[in-house]
């Protein structure tokens, strides 16, 4: 298996995002802080085999979101996301 075969999409973390944000985020528009692309979260590249979850822009591959859970806590890094629309 190659790295590219491990690339999923935002659908795969729909349940996790529901837990973190309290709403279903798969159709939520997101803006990449690096290239400015606007895409539904479901279209973003997702890697779940890292320690935690890494979400990358599907255009420029910059890291947009990182989520790590452990010991009953959740760490959410949104520094690569320009905007996330909750609705």
């Amino acid at each position: 298996m190659e790295t590219r075969d491990l690339r999923l999409d935002g659908n795969a973390i729909g349940g996790l995002l529901l837990e973190v944000f309290g709403v279903d985020m798969t159709a939520a528009p997101s803006v990449c802080a690096s290239c400015g692309s606007r895409e539904a979260v479901a279209r973003l590249d997702v890697y779940v085999n890292a320690p935690g979850v890494v979400v990358r822009c599907c255009h420029c591959e910059a890291v947009m979101i990182r989520i790590v859970q452990g010991g009953g806590r959740t760490w959410l890094d949104l520094s690569g996301t320009g905007c996330l629309e909750l609705g």
């Binding site: 590219r4 075969d5 491990l6 690339r7 999923l8 999409d9 935002g10 659908n11 795969a12 973390i13 729909g14 349940g15 996790l16 529901l18 837990e19 279903d24 798969t26 159709a27 539904a40 979260v41 479901a42 279209r43 779940v48 085999n49 979850v53």
Partner: protein, 229 residues
């Protein structure tokens, strides 16, 4: 119900179930006696009109699917979260031509759409292009034959990539741009597209459709892998 040697459909009775939309999935969490938990996502196979059914393929090194396919018995209790997904969903009231492209068990959420279309009397023209390894691996084969035979605008195109039975007249190769050009609507029909399968399958199908001139935003994809979150 055993669909194929590796694939089984389970019917769930979920207290307080809010209803689902065609294409959504559920997270299933199993907890061992020592507290170890494993969680995976499974697409809902049933139409929104028909309760909750999951169709699960056994992955031999999986932590959840071997239990669901081989061991789960009627009356067993499992923990679920969902329904999940507001992007990879389709409504039968949508009249836009519908193109569904499935690789292996990626057919499951698309089957929910096909069943929803039939149950709700949807009139959108629909095509399901379904790639399986062998005829034995085709999930829902007889039901798909029946639905396509109704003549109400659903067409099912199979391709068998690894082995074909004698006298097979369908496609016998992986989905590629040429195959898609032969079976899919022209881009000018502006169909709504859902593609589900492994990452490689989805990328190949989406690239093929883009090469035909399909708009990127008209193609909704869902990739599945063996790991959960």
């Amino acid at each position: 119900m055993q669909e194929t040697p590796r694939v089984r459909t389970l019917t769930l009775d979920v207290p307080g179930w809010p209803g689902h939309r065609a294409g959504q999935h559920l997270d299933v969490r199993l907890t061992a006696e020592d507290g170890y938990t494993a969680q995976r996502s499974y697409s809902i196979a049933s139409a929104p009109e028909d309760g909750v059914e999951l169709t699960v393929e056994r992955l031999d090194d999986g932590e959840v699917s071997p239990y669901l396919v081989d061991e789960a018995r009627e009356g067993d209790r499992i923990e679920v979260r969902g329904p999940i997904g507001r992007y990879f969903v389709w409504e039968a009231s949508d009249l836009t031509p519908l193109l569904l492209v499935a690789g292996g068990s990626g057919v499951v959420p698309l089957m929910s759409m096909v069943r929803h279309r039939a149950s709700a009397g949807g009139t959108a023209s629909a095509k399901l292009v379904y790639s399986s390894r062998t005829l034995e691996d085709v999930i829902y084969r007889s039901e798909l034959d029946e639905l396509a035979a109704r003549g109400d605008g659903l067409e099912v195109v199979h391709t068998l990539t690894r082995e074909q039975p004698e006298g097979w007249t369908g496609y016998a190769r992986r989905i590629d741009p040429e195959l898609l050009r032969e079976v899919a609507w022209p881009a000018s029909a502006r169909p709504r597209v859902y593609v589900c399968g492994s990452t490689r399958f989805v990328d190949a199908a989406a690239d093929g459709l883009l090469a035909l001139g399909y708009e990127p935003q008209s193609i909704r994809t869902e990739r599945f892998g063996a790991t959960g979150t």
